[in-house]
């Protein structure tokens, strides 16, 4: 009879439509595979193609130590064992492609488990990609929360926990009768210390599944959900008396990723997890079963869903140029690749952040081109872009490295430790701490930090280099990396001071008020900072001192620019006797002033004039002096 109907339908349908329907059916049947493959490719592009610099930074801002204390500290809270495992896996972002491959494998595992747990077949399998897209978003949407996150191993732990939760749901679906009851009790009661919120959520999904039509045994349909509900309420309360680091009010949501800083909360960053929670709770209720009908709309809907996931991920992906460039510059500074730092600085399309400007100046200090090139780059200062009300502080994003490079070892140590205390110690902190201890002559504590670095997986080579210096401290001064920090530190004098959490303001105040004749390097840094401060009175003594220390040498162009500008502004006669470069300074300054005055006379605002002349004079100190205002240090 069926065959007859089909023949009739086929006879009634145009041939093309039949072929389309057959193709749709095949595509829908292959949708679980197609979805998985497509997601894999997309995730690989987003992670490796668009976020390699970020992922490398992630592992620098994470830590896994192969010792029992680390394990004990991580596992002292519900879900801690997954965070410990997350810390271990996060290390693999040292090679972003390798870490990404592991993460994608984990997601594919979760995808397969979800398909099984919720019997998602055909077009419905696309739904199982929703949590995967959410998890992908949770990785790439962090932005500057990267520097504020307190969830250890976050980049893997949440995916591991999700996989564990889904596996539990799957196993529970395989069980029947009293085994199902027992499993629910064990899952929530014993799972809570291991998984925290995820155990409760898994329990809730199981309970809802039991209550829904998916549960065939009618007598359990209400008993199990009721029991699940009671356990969800009672178990966290009981475990609260076991764990000593958890607030009672947090017991039911412990392990749910929340992003809170002192004055900010990010719902955007938590959004993927809300999506996951709602999704897994709804899935059992929806009772999605294949009905055997394959249609073009269903197919389009499936592909549309995937496309929507991709678009949402691309929207969530934090692709702020400065954010990524800052990370690359930091890495180049850490690796002493000064040319690459300057290349990055030169490529910035918009205004940089102050951290980028400082890193650029550090690179120029190392290449000996401060006076020659410092103002060839944009020296502005845009605040780091955030999507919420998070306030980014340089003390968290780069201050220890900046202080270290400027030879302020105590302050570098201070902020590495402050950050370590608040957010958990990171590889990055240990590297700075070990270096500062070595350069401060605090060999015993250097040994401690080097020992810890030796317990990481991918930083052992650097640890070995530091270990050699620990064993042979006489070699420290010969290391190229240390020469400038040592010289700056050597000529520093001790005093009681504080930066009040503002690294750049402190450096500006400290260096621009320092007078030094013993070190050409330090003297030039003080001159550079006097120029950044735009303080004429601070400039002149440092300028003359520079000239004295560099007798017979060509005066770098920016110092000439500043001297000529200040001399002109003060109408000082003594600049008449100075050997300024006629073409680069005297004629160009005249041209600059004429151009600017011309624009101003046309009634343009100072800001408009600045933008107009930027292309021509943006590489001069003059432009910085007159038009680079509203510099936001943070």
């Amino acid at each position: 009879m069926k065959q007859k109907n089909r023949q009739q339908n086929q006879a009634a349908s145009p041939k093309g439509l039949v072929r389309t329907q057959a193709f749709s059916r095949q595509l829908l049947q292959a949708m679980p595979w197609l979805g998985g493959v497509f997601f894999t490719l997309f995730a690989a592009v987003v992670l490796v193609g668009m976020n390699s610099d970020y992922l490398f930074t992630v592992q620098e801002r994470s830590l896994f130590l192969d010792n029992p204390i680390f394990f004990q500290e991580q596992t002292a809270v519900p879900g801690g064992i997954f965070h410990w495992a997350g810390c271990y896996l996060t290390q693999f972002f040292y090679y972003p492609a390798l870490g990404s491959a592991l993460l994608i494998l984990l997601w594919l595992g979760a995808y397969v488990v979800m398909l099984k747990a919720f019997h998602l077949r055909g077009g419905w399998s696309v739904l199982a990609l929703i949590p995967l897209f959410a998890l992908l978003c949770s990785i790439v949407d962090l932005g500057y929360w990267l520097y504020n996150i307190k969830i250890q191993g976050y980049w893997f732990s949440e995916s591991l926990l999700f996989l564990a939760m889904m596996s539990g749901v799957w196993v529970s679906r395989k069980m029947h009768g009293r085994w199902r009851l027992l499993f629910l009790v064990v899952w929530i009661a014993a799972g809570y210390p291991l998984m925290g919120w995820y155990a409760l959520m898994g329990g809730a999904v199981m309970a809802i599944a039991y209550a829904s039509r998916l549960c065939e045994e009618q007598n359990e349909r209400w008993l199990l959900p009721l029991l699940g509900g009671l356990l969800i309420v009672a178990v966290p309360l009981l475990w609260y008396y076991y764990f000593n680091q958890m607030r009672l009010e947090d017991a039911w949501v412990y392990g749910f990723p929340m992003f809170r800083a002192e004055k900010a909360t990010s719902l955007i960053s938590s959004a993927p997890f809300f999506v996951i929670a709602v999704f897994v709770l709804l899935l059992p209720v929806l009772n999605l079963k294949e009905d055997g009908r394959y249609s073009l709309p269903a197919l389009l809907l499936s592909f549309g869903g995937i496309a929507a996931g991709c678009l949402l991920t691309l929207w969530a992906n934090f692709d702020d140029y400065n954010y990524h460039a800052e990370m690359r510059m930091y890495r180049h500074v850490a690796e002493g690749e000064w040319g690459k730092v300057l290349d990055e600085a030169a490529a910035i399309p918009d205004r940089p952040t102050r951290q980028m400007v400082i890193l650029k100046n550090i690179a120029l200090m190392h290449t000996g081109e401060l006076g020659k090139r410092a103002w060839h780059f944009d020296n502005g200062g845009r605040l780091p872009h955030t999507r919420d009300d998070l306030k980014v502080h340089m003390v968290q994003t780069g201050t220890p490295m900046i202080y270290y490079q400027y030879g302020k070892f105590n302050f570098a140590t201070r902020w590495a430790i402050e950050n370590g205390v608040e957010f958990g110690f990171k590889v990055n902190d240990l590297k700075i701490l070990a270096r500062c201890a070595l350069l401060n002559g605090e060999m015993e504590v250097a040994d401690k930090y080097i020992t810890l670095l030796e317990q990481t997986t991918f930083h052992t080579r650097e640890a070995a280099m530091l270990r050699e210096l620990y064993r042979y401290p006489e070699r420290i001064a010969e290391e190229e990396e240390f020469k400038i920090p040592i010289e700056l530190n050597h000529h520093d004098t001790n005093m009681l001071d504080s930066d009040n959490g503002l690294c750049e303001i402190y450096l500006l105040h400290n260096f621009s008020n320092t007078m030094n004749i013993d070190s050409k390097l330090l003297q030039e840094v003080t001159l550079n900072y006097a120029m950044i401060s735009k303080d004429i009175q601070l400039f002149w003594p440092r300028f003359f001192q520079y000239a004295t220390l560099h007798k017979g040498e060509q005066m770098p162009i920016h110092y000439q620019e500043a001297a000529y500008l200040y001399g002109t502004l003060e109408k000082s006669s003594f600049i008449n006797g100075m050997p300024f470069d006629r073409k680069q300074i005297e004629i160009r300054y005249l041209y600059f002033q004429n151009t600017v005055q011309g624009h101003l006379r046309r009634g343009l605002s100072e800001q408009q004039v600045g933008e107009l002349v930027r292309a021509e004079f943006g590489d001069t100190f003059w432009w910085f002096y007159f038009f680079c205002n509203n510099v936001n240090s943070y």
């Binding site: 076991y242 680091q245 607030r247 302050f411 605090e442 504590v445």
Partner: protein, 508 residues
């Protein structure tokens, strides 16, 4: 309802404990190498337990061969009536049961240890000069409590006060600030103190969020606000009267600033400082000392409770400057001396101050006076200036014999790095002290025997199961206090008390 004591240990600690049990269960006794070279030098071990005097009830003194390149070691222990050989890689881990038997047999005598170390590069064994554990007849108090804190500067996150069973490696939480701290309402905790080594009457402070002083009276916790209109701050450094329901406190306005280059890194100074007395039963605060230009701090009772010792610096502030700026500018001029005041237990009144030790006369600064339970010895920390000696590498412990007036450094206890906070055991035979001798930055606890002749013996690190523990641990120990019994109030009970509104103390 009280929570049973044993349910609040961290599960991870329990997990680790199980692993340790399994591992120690597998402890084998290796054989002593047959071929080796002899050396006359003592072995380089960590922690340094060579020739130390230890109590018979202490946890095993596990140690490791500390020379780089040593890949294996074997230790041959001999004691009256027994011997044993231990060694696993470069560590010596002694099973708790065997250790207890060993010390019981050696009580009043000693255990001799011959260490053989194997150098990976040379491929040879070396036998070192033997060293001893001298096992004292005098037991140590079974518990010590301390705060664990990262060696932070301004910020803090997780802080905990813990109690360690000295007869084992068991460490339990007394209170952890994360039980009440949120992201925007962090809580600092500090200054735990007990009445006469017991824990039914004790206290510690909570600052910032849910702030107040947690006073435990007869085992019942209560949060009190000790700041009154007449005091410059709430209570800070405490001293429980040995028998009466009274606590002496300093009140301080404290600031800290940072050395730009000096390895000491931090200076902590008071710009104002007084002493008050809190009557726990009457809930009243009275002033002990509030003299202008005197910075009184660190009160400590003598064992009879009829004299209060304290440190005080005479510091005349420059009127033209803010006090805290002046304190920063002239931090090296702050020199603390040690004073005492007689106390009338009936009237609860104090007499006039008397100088006990004038450190300023020798250009030094003495703090943290602690009187031995026998009442004869004054133990204090002394450094070049200031009152926060844990940040001063030159700070050492000194002892004054109150009978003879003689003052001397505790040379057997001191190190080139900072020694600071210290406490006597209840029998006066043991001292626990904070020291940065390991690395100059992280404070560790050291124990030292103090014999009947008034001599301190070599200090040894608080034993941990893993000899590598201190190399890997990124927090400092501070304010070590001996206890004869554990705190039985659960951390959650303290948290519940912390959430309640504090009882306001009244001015007397």
């Amino acid at each position: 309802m009280k929570t049973p004591y044993y349910i609040y240990s961290d599960w991870s600690r329990y997990f680790c404990f199980c692993i340790i049990l399994v591992l120690t269960g597998c402890q084998h006794h290796p054989s002593v190498p047959t071929e080796f070279a002899d050396t006359d030098s003592l072995p380089h071990i960590y922690p340094d337990y060579t020739d130390v005097t230890i109590p018979a009830n202490i946890a095993p003194l596990n140690f490791m061969a500390a020379d780089k390149g040593t890949d294996a070691c074997v230790a041959h222990f001999t004691w009256p009536g027994g011997e044993a050989v231990y060694g696993q890689d470069n560590k010596i881990i002694i099973p708790a049961g065997e250790w207890r038997d060993m010390l019981a047999a050696a009580r009043g005598g000693s255990v001799s240890i011959v260490l053989y170390t194997h150098c990976e590069d040379a491929g040879k064994w070396t036998r070192h000069r033997p060293f001893r554990f001298h096992v004292s007849e005098d037991e140590i108090d079974p518990y010590v409590s301390y705060r664990l804190i990262s060696p932070s500067y301004v910020g803090y996150e997780m802080l905990g006060i813990y109690q360690r069973d000295l007869t084992s490696f068991d460490e339990r939480t007394i209170y952890n600030n994360m039980l009440v701290s949120g992201e925007r309402d962090g809580q600092c905790i500090n200054c735990h103190s007990y009445q006469n080594y017991g824990t039914r009457n004790m206290q510690f402070h909570m600052r910032q969020s849910l702030g107040g002083t947690m006073i435990v009276k007869d085992g019942v916790p209560k949060k009190v606000n000790l700041k009154t209109d007449r005091t410059i701050s709430a209570g800070v450094y405490p001293a429980w009267h040995p028998t009466l329901p009274l606590v002496a406190y300093s009140t301080n306005l404290t600031g800290q600033s940072f050395h730009t280059k000096d390895v000491a890194k931090i200076e902590v100074q008071d710009s104002e400082s007084d002493l008050i007395l809190y009557d726990v039963e009457a809930n009243t605060v009275s002033t002990i000392s509030a003299v202008g230009n005197e910075l009184e701090v660190y009160p400590a009772w003598n064992p009879d409770g009829d004299t209060l010792y304290y440190a005080s610096a005479h510091f005349v502030f420059n009127d033209s400057l803010e006090k805290d700026f002046d304190a920063i500018n002239r931090y090296q001029e702050m020199k603390y001396d040690i004073y005492c005041r007689p106390f009338d237990r009936t009237t609860k009144r104090f007499g006039e101050p008397d100088t006990v030790f004038s450190a300023s006369a020798v250009g030094q600064s003495a703090t943290l006076p602690r009187i031995s339970p026998c009442g004869r010895y004054l133990l204090f920390a002394m450094g070049g200036w200031g009152c926060f000696h844990i940040w001063h590498p030159d700070a050492d412990l000194y002892l004054t014999d109150l009978y003879t007036g003689e003052t001397r450094p505790l040379e057997q206890v001191n190190s080139p790095q900072a020694e600071s906070y210290h406490s006597w055991s209840s029998n006066g035979r043991w001292i626990v002290l904070s020291s940065r001798r390991d690395d100059g930055n992280y404070t560790r606890l050291y124990l030292a025997y103090f014999d009947r002749q008034g001599h301190a013996h070599k200090a040894f690190a608080l034993p941990q199961h893993s000899p590598e523990f201190y190399h890997q641990f990124l927090r400092s120990y501070n304010v070590p206090e001996f206890m004869v019994e554990p705190v039985r109030i659960s951390p959650q009970e303290f948290a519940a008390a912390a959430r309640r509104e504090p009882v306001q103390a009244k001015d007397e």
